[in-house]
């Protein structure tokens, strides 16, 4: 067996072990912890998507929180049954006439996930088309604006989005298991939180495998060529604009799915749910996970989730926990970690892992040849 196959087999085994670990994890943790790990799974998906465009294609997006918002609001609007379910709309008002009747009863939550992905993907393509034709940092500039502007637009379109009050999904019959707090899975019945856990991680693992295959293919090679040397890539016949835009679209799809799941798990959305800082948190997670590596994603997602939700840090020693709960401190930790990672470990956890295994892989290569 050649070294290439041995390394591939090693990676597949690692992935299978990871999947088994995730499947068994709910047995060892409390119900509330299962919900927290469901959110970790959501961040996993969003960071994975961001990593495709930033880590592999080398284009910074500071607006992936906004694509999560698009996915999340798509789900929330469809599940709730749209504007007719929102208070304050008189019969015969303009918005209601635009809303088809058959949507009124609302969609089952699971069906809205692919729709959210599609809408976010289209938004990503439409948005990336102008920004990605230009060299350099323009995507970062434009997406930064997008992240700040989208919550404003959501507030403004209160007829569809519920404005500042948002959309409440709790107790909605379209949401699987939210009211009864139990969901029948094949073989057993689980709580709502555990159901969220299994749902997000099942989707996350599928998306991880899809991303892995995609990035190992011609498409992934083209992205890395664009990242490493645009001129050389173009000279080899790679259309820079096309590949950058495609990568951006794919990553927007990932963010949209994460947003849909977020709306389902949170059972509530409002403009604050997807504020501009969320986009920055995703960039930080991707940098910690390792830009251009998939193996560190879990750590990146854990890091972002627990710093975003300091209330969930109750497992830490008391002193550290209360320090992290002081307003402003989590952001300072974020900033310091991000800068430290970029200065000392520019390839993040994923790159670190690769380095850790290098003695073994090197040996395989020398023996194989």
């Amino acid at each position: 067996m050649s070294a290439r196959w041995a390394i591939l087999a090693g990676k597949v085994v690692a992935l299978v072990l990871f999947a088994v670990f995730l499947a068994l994890l709910p047995n060892w943790i409390s119900d509330i912890r299962a919900q927290q790990f469901a959110y970790v799974g959501i961040f996993f998906i969003a960071i994975l998507g961001l990593n495709i465009v930033t880590g592999y294609a080398g284009q910074i997006s500071l607006g992936h929180g906004a694509f999560m918002a698009i996915g999340g609001y798509t789900t929330a609007i469809l599940v709730s049954g749209g504007p007719k379910a929102l208070p304050g709309f008189a019969e015969g008002s303009e918005y209601l006439n635009l809303w088809p009747d058959f949507l009124e009863g609302g969609f089952k939550d699971l069906y809205t996930i692919p729709i959210g992905a599609l809408v976010a993907g289209i938004a990503g393509l439409a948005f990336g088309l102008p920004a990605l034709r230009l060299p350099g940092l323009y995507l970062a500039l434009v997406t930064f604006g997008f992240a700040i502007a989208v919550p404003q637009v959501i507030r403004y379109l209160d007829g569809v989005s519920g404005g500042t009050a948002g959309i409440q999904l709790f107790g909605n019959p379209n949401l699987t298991g939210a009211t009864a707090n139990k969901v029948d899975l094949p073989g057993r019945t689980v709580t709502f939180n555990e159901w969220l856990y299994h749902l997000t991680w099942a989707i996350a693992l599928v998306l991880l495998v899809v991303a892995w295959i995609l990035l190992a293919s011609r498409f992934g090679r083209a992205l890395r060529a664009v990242r490493d040397n645009e001129v050389a890539a173009a000279a080899s016949g790679i259309s820079l604009a096309r590949y950058k835009t495609l990568a951006f679209g794919v990553s927007a799809v990932y963010a949209g799915i994460a947003g849909s799941l977020y709306a389902i798990a949170n059972t509530f959305v409002n403009p604050e749910t997807f504020r501009a800082d969320l986009s920055l948190a995703l960039v930080i997670g991707a940098a910690v996970a390792g830009l251009g590596w998939l193996s560190g994603l879990f750590v990146g997602a854990l890091f972002v989730y627990f710093l975003e939700n300091v209330a969930s840090l109750d497992f830490l020693p008391n002193g550290i926990e209360s320090a992290l709960k002081t307003p402003g401190v989590p952001d300072m930790v974020y900033g310091v970690v991000l800068i430290a990672v970029m200065l000392a470990l520019p390839f993040g956890v994923g790159g670190g892992l690769t380095r850790l295994f290098r003695p073994i892989t090197n040996r395989l290569y020398t023996r194989g040849s």
């Binding site: 930033t54 080398g58 910074i60 500071l62 102008p130 920004a131 034709r133 230009l134 060299p135 350099g136 940092l137 323009y138 970062a140 500039l141 434009v142 930064f144 604006g145 997008f146 700040i148 502007a149 404003q152 637009v153 507030r155 403004y156 645009e230 001129v231 173009a234 000279a235 501009a276 800082d277 920055l280 960039v283 930080i284 940098a287 830009l291 002081t326 307003p327 402003g328 401190v329 989590p330 952001d331 300072m332 930790v333 974020y334 900033g335 310091v336 970690v337 991000l338 800068i339 970029m342 200065l343 520019p346």
Partner: protein
């Protein structure tokens, strides 16, 4: 007609604030190729520093100039400590470091000063004066004047002093500058210091209107980015013109164009996109040539 003049003057005032932050972005972009996303948050921290000084009993203008000096030092120190190590690395790395700075500064301000909105005194009186039958606020005129003086001083510094020449050379061609004995590293640090000063000016000028809190510069940064892209990221003059034009446009749109003020940010974003589509290098920017 009087109303229109008032709106234009108010637009020029807010445009001047965008322009000074945009100029700060352009200074750093020309020198290092990095867009400093932390520029707005650094300005916010500077503004808090000046607020602290005023609270401790300093007169406004004394606190103003003291803050400019402090900001300069902060800018230089940041360049030396966190930007220097990523010099020569991919631009992506540098930009992510500035994002880390952004998040850190925001958290730092929350930690030290809290998230409550604070009143910030203005250095100018709030009354209006009568100019040819049009009532114009002294505050607006003051803001325009301070911005113009800052830009003029900066221009003179770059054109007339040897140090300014050295900084321009270091930005244009670092290798050749090194050969003729310019200390390029220090020129970059100086650039960061000057950018921090410009940012502090914009922060202290905008704080009386938007009130002081750790998130006050987010929208201003977005407008400044829009202004810089409009004028061309490589053109200091373009940044100033872009800032003023954006300020006036937004003000007129809100006053006459029936655009609600909550949509000002999205309008600015749409403007960036349109400019990028029509003139990718901005109104006055250099077109980057690439050969394949």
């Amino acid at each position: 007609m009087a109303d229109l003049v008032q709106q234009v003057v108010a637009g020029l005032a807010s445009g001047g604030i965008f322009a000074s932050l945009a100029l700060a972005l352009v200074l750093i972009y020309r020198a290092t190729g990095i867009v400093n996303f932390a520029q707005g948050e650094l300005a916010m921290v500077s503004t808090f520093v000046s607020w602290e000084l005023i609270e401790r009993g300093l007169a406004f203008w004394l606190a103003f100039f003291l803050t400019l000096a402090i900001s300069f030092v902060i800018g230089v120190v940041i360049e030396r400590v966190v930007i220097r190590p990523v010099e020569g690395r991919p631009v992506l790395t540098g930009v992510i470091v500035t994002l880390g700075l952004l998040v850190f500064c925001n958290g730092f301000a929350f930690w030290v000063w809290g998230g409550d909105v604070k009143n910030y005194p203005s250095g100018f009186s709030t009354r209006t004066i009568d100019v040819a039958g049009v009532a114009i606020s002294v505050q607006d005129l003051g803001v325009i004047a301070v911005t113009l003086v800052a830009v003029a001083l900066l221009y003179a510094f770059f054109q007339l002093t040897k140090l300014g020449l050295g900084m321009r050379a270091a930005a244009l061609n670092p290798d050749a500058s090194r050969l003729v004995g310019i200390r390029v590293g220090w020129m970059l640090a100086l650039g960061w210091g000057l950018a921090a000063v410009l940012g502090a000016i914009s922060g202290m000028l905008v704080a009386p209107t938007v009130l002081l809190d750790p998130n006050m510069m987010r929208p201003v940064l977005l407008y400044a980015i829009a202004a810089a892209v409009l004028g061309g990221l490589t053109s200091p003059g373009g940044a100033v013109v872009g800032g003023l034009a954006l300020g006036v446009t937004l003000n007129l749109l809100t006053a006459y164009g029936d655009v609600p003020s909550s949509l000002r940010l999205p309008v600015a974003l749409a403007l960036i996109l349109v400019v990028l589509l029509i003139r990718p290098a901005g109104l006055f920017g250099r077109v980057a040539l690439r050969r394949v």
